[in-house]
Symmetry: C2
Subunit: 410 residues, 2 copies
Amino acid sequence: MYFHTDLKQLPGGVCAPAGFRASGLHCGIRPNTEKPDLAMILADVPCAAAGVYTQNLMKGAPVLVTKENLADGKAQAVICNSGNANTCNADGLEKARAMCDLTAKALGLSPQDVIVASTGVIGQPLPLEPIAQGIAPLVESLSREGGHAAATAIMTTDTVSKELALEFTVDGIPCRIAGMAKGSGMIHPNMATMLCFLTTDCAITPALLDKALHRCVADTFNMVSVDGDTSTNDTVVLMASGLAKNPEIQGEGAAYEAFCKALFDLLLYLSTQIAGDGEGATKLLVCSVTGAKDKEMAKACAKSVICSPLVKAAMFGADANCGRVLCALGYAGQPIDPHTVDVDFESEAGRIRVCAQGNGLAFDEEAAKAILLQKEILIHVDLGLGEACADAFGCDLTYDYVKINGDYRS
Amino acid sequence: MYFHTDLKQLPGGVCAPAGFRASGLHCGIRPNTEKPDLAMILADVPCAAAGVYTQNLMKGAPVLVTKENLADGKAQAVICNSGNANTCNADGLEKARAMCDLTAKALGLSPQDVIVASTGVIGQPLPLEPIAQGIAPLVESLSREGGHAAATAIMTTDTVSKELALEFTVDGIPCRIAGMAKGSGMIHPNMATMLCFLTTDCAITPALLDKALHRCVADTFNMVSVDGDTSTNDTVVLMASGLAKNPEIQGEGAAYEAFCKALFDLLLYLSTQIAGDGEGATKLLVCSVTGAKDKEMAKACAKSVICSPLVKAAMFGADANCGRVLCALGYAGQPIDPHTVDVDFESEAGRIRVCAQGNGLAFDEEAAKAILLQKEILIHVDLGLGEACADAFGCDLTYDYVKINGDYRS
């Protein structure tokens, strides 16, 4: 398994940290399906909150409303629907605000303390009626066991829910951080149709929460690509209840670093889960670049490889073709040196070098195929120019990606 | 048909202009196939010559050698093999030069007057022996009827040859310009595994030939994308024999404009042919952007739409989803205004608006499907911000793309 953490993993998803309840149910956004499509998270207390959003200029209405609501660094609830992205509709803002109003009213909160998100098809008006009718049962079913139901209700083309909860220590006090995420197609941060809701009971100021979130997203979610399409609705939000009762983290230092470490591990896990569950994917691909001149070069090269349709298709076919990897490095817009590049493929079945100093090597085709038939593949690229490194996460390109996306609106 | 020219079309491919002969045959670069894989073009006289090449930092050895050879603005022959790109091999340069030497020797030319190109798999050494053995028969079969044989021999995953010859007038004198091109996968100029060999009998200086080529490639080949991968081997070369005996074009003016018009039409045709024959493609897609603030915006937006895997997959599925088009516009890196964008789909079956001022419209699904089931689709995008426009060319994303690229090296 590519992902590894030293931290203890807990059950419960987003409800693992102290002070959070969640729920998820089917309210009927789309016809002909019983899939759960409405999720809620509620904190017992007002939380410090932070968010990171898509940089696509076409921002979904929910993104705009959530950005407004989180401007004060505080929130207490999340309402999220799947099945319709409420994006590129004339009445989008109005409906996103209505979702906040309905939620706030049912919970006795101010609408500005509600985070709203929507994911699904773009350009079709959001049906508000089923949501309005679903709020009361959703509130009714809030519980500390509701994490998985919520994680399922936010899914669209995901095949599995993505959740994780970790325990860590701050100033000797146990804290917990957890998250649920969805994302399958239209994945290419900055950001991607990633929706990610994170909870923690750590006590931390809104400003530092925001700083930590931006920092950790940079090397995780922002390094994920399923299909190169950056969505209109990406949202990652983090609420901190403070109920772990640690001394509030107010500045950088050991406590802040411990928090960032836990947040990073959590986001790394969710990133690999999202990448590996890309639409139609059969494999998680990780491009691990080392030897770059600087971090920017490492990231651009890693992303270029992971985004290449030809590399992705080759991985689907278990074809150890270094040429496509080299080609992707060459158009990454970085001053690489073709003559110092090494490429290896690795998986649980072994590791093999296919290119040394920019030249293709002869290798055992059977051994290479065995390596590439695994479910998690590492593409190692050593640029031979320095010490910087970066990883990017993606998946193979398969017939099913085409099938899923050839007829998505039905 | 999207492509239209007022110029007269001629038979003969690259041999239509005065002073050119060509040939193509199977010499055996790859085992288990009888596909023609070696092509030659020979001019009766030394020609003014110009070239445009890939900007991928991983440049194939043939690209480097041809660049050197064309530095003096003169050439007289082309030798091109398919089946192996002679790229990312330690002995690449040596072999590319050897191909020039063998060709020059057989034709009584200087090696520096030979243009060399290779296309095919990367990272496997080029077998020189079959090429060496193929040169004599290739020279022997040079003829003015050899254009099609040459156009076939340069193909890799192309399903059809791409050739065109046009007649135009310069200072009242009839001239001809022609080209043969190949390109299917790994297509994303700057440039793409496009190989394009152009011939003309127009008399024009090397400097103006170079200027015209760069200018015309900008809005044609450099606006083509099949899969977003920019290849290592792109080469477009143009040889001018001068045998039309027009007054040599030595400066800008009416004659130069007439030449550029003909060259542009030719490249536009070849571009749409390459785009429409993308690996696995069933449709040619043209994204036609209007209303941009400037040309750069128009081009970036058009390319973004044409490169989006989700747009491409939707076109394969005949799904009139404006959301993906809008999403692609939003991440193009241009300051578009989400509220002034219109999107229409058009084909021979009609035209339909699916988005007005950034909002999805209700539309007749059956009518939309009928439009999208055609073989050439225009995606009209009006950005509503100015007067600049640009077209980009691509194709749909299909199961066959994945199939072809899942096992390319076999």
